[in-house]
């Protein structure tokens, strides 16, 4: 028997990466800004998205959302109340969305054409670890953390926060009862991802939404 080493040098997630690159090209040529929202379960991705979809619609923009969850279409039903097209992706146990799931759900999405959209939001499965490895073809990855989760979340999950393009601190209406140390949270995010754009919002009071929506509009102009 002879033993030999065969150099492969290939990405483990090459298939996903290639599919995501194809999606990114499609999104770019359709002129739609695609955002991938990632956080722990319960941070308030859906609540932020509900308000965002409603506000964008009110301003005459065309936005749609793909929503990932292990089970149930509760989030899709909540978001659909905004009037925007929404589609649920059920992963049935898988802890993250991948490019293939996004691609499949886009293909078979009746009545929705990328060319008609200004924004497409992809709400990932609630998880701060696994989604960080899977490119979905998004242009902006948004990492969210709520004031109820603690200021050290970015330090605990550096893989995700370091890969994010923007960060949103949610539920700021609860900052005082949670004795949330804002300065420390901002410092921790910046330690992991220096210079990242950070937004502070409350879906309950609407605080911080103007800055967030202005950022979306500014980014969409570049799409």
């Amino acid at each position: 028997m002879i033993t030999r080493i065969v150099e492969l040098r290939r990405g483990i997630l090459k298939k996903n990466d290639e599919l995501a690159a194809g999606l990114r090209n499609r999104f770019t040529s359709a002129g739609v800004l695609v955002l991938n929202l990632v956080s722990s379960p319960g941070t308030g991705k859906t609540a932020l998205l509900e308000l965002t979809l409603r506000e964008l619609r009110r301003r005459g923009a065309h936005a749609a959302a793909l929503v990932g969850d292990l089970e149930t279409d509760n989030d899709a039903r909540r978001l659909a109340a905004s009037g925007a097209p929404v589609r649920q992706i059920n992963t049935h146990g898988i802890c993250h969305l991948d490019a293939e799931m996004v691609s499949k759900h886009l293909e078979s999405w009746e009545g929705v054409s990328l060319a008609d959209l200004d924004y497409l939001f992809i709400e990932n499965v609630g998880n701060l670890v696994c989604p960080s490895s899977y490119d979905l073809g998004e242009r902006i990855r948004v990492a969210l953390l709520s004031v109820t989760e603690g200021e050290d979340k970015p330090l605990k999950y550096p893989g995700l926060f370091n890969s994010a393009d923007a960060a949103v601190i949610t539920k700021i209406d609860l900052a005082v009862p949670c004795t949330f140390d804002r300065e420390l949270a901002l410092k921790n995010i910046n330690e992991i991802r220096p210079g990242i754009r950070i937004f502070e919002t409350s879906a309950k009071t609407g605080a911080g939404m103007e800055a967030w929506l202005a950022y979306l509009a500014e980014q969409a102009q570049r799409s």
């Binding site: 002879i2 290939r10 893989g159 210079g195």
Partner: protein
């Protein structure tokens, strides 16, 4: 727990690459995994065993070469390795360093395969022919 998905992707990629060497057995799979790749080594080893069980890759060792994070410091103009993943600053000047040069890798570097000696197999084939005669 996406290590099972990762292990399944490795099995798929290695099986595809090894098919170019018929009759070969994969003894070892070598990975390069960056410190920011969000992969837990023990969990991946466990899932590797599960994913390869009963397949031609069963028994192949998974060797994980961990790579530290390297950032580019604009102020110093050099690439620097940082210790850990808690602070993305240049270890030399202390300035924030957002420009990541290494740390997200999740790749199969190489496989070690064991193949039958070409001569032996030729002799064996010839013997078989003889036996049939």
């Amino acid at each position: 727990m996406h290590e099972l998905s990762i292990a399944a992707s490795i099995v798929e990629a290695v099986t595809e690459s090894a098919s170019a060497y018929p009759g070969a057995r994969v003894k070892q799979v070598r990975l390069r995994v960056g410190a920011l790749a969000s992969v837990v080594e023990d969990s991946l080893q466990f899932c590797w065993e599960l994913a390869t069980e009963g397949s031609p890759l069963a028994g192949a060792a998974l060797v994980i070469n961990k790579l530290p994070v390297i950032v580019h410091c604009d102020a110093c103009g050099v690439d620097m390795e940082i210790e850990g993943v808690q602070s993305f600053r240049c270890p030399r000047c202390g300035e924030p360093a957002a420009d990541l040069r290494q740390g997200r890798e999740l790749e199969i570097e190489a496989i070690e395969i064991e193949e039958p000696e070409p001569k032996e197999s030729a002799i064996a084939a010839a013997n078989q022919v003889e036996e049939r005669i």
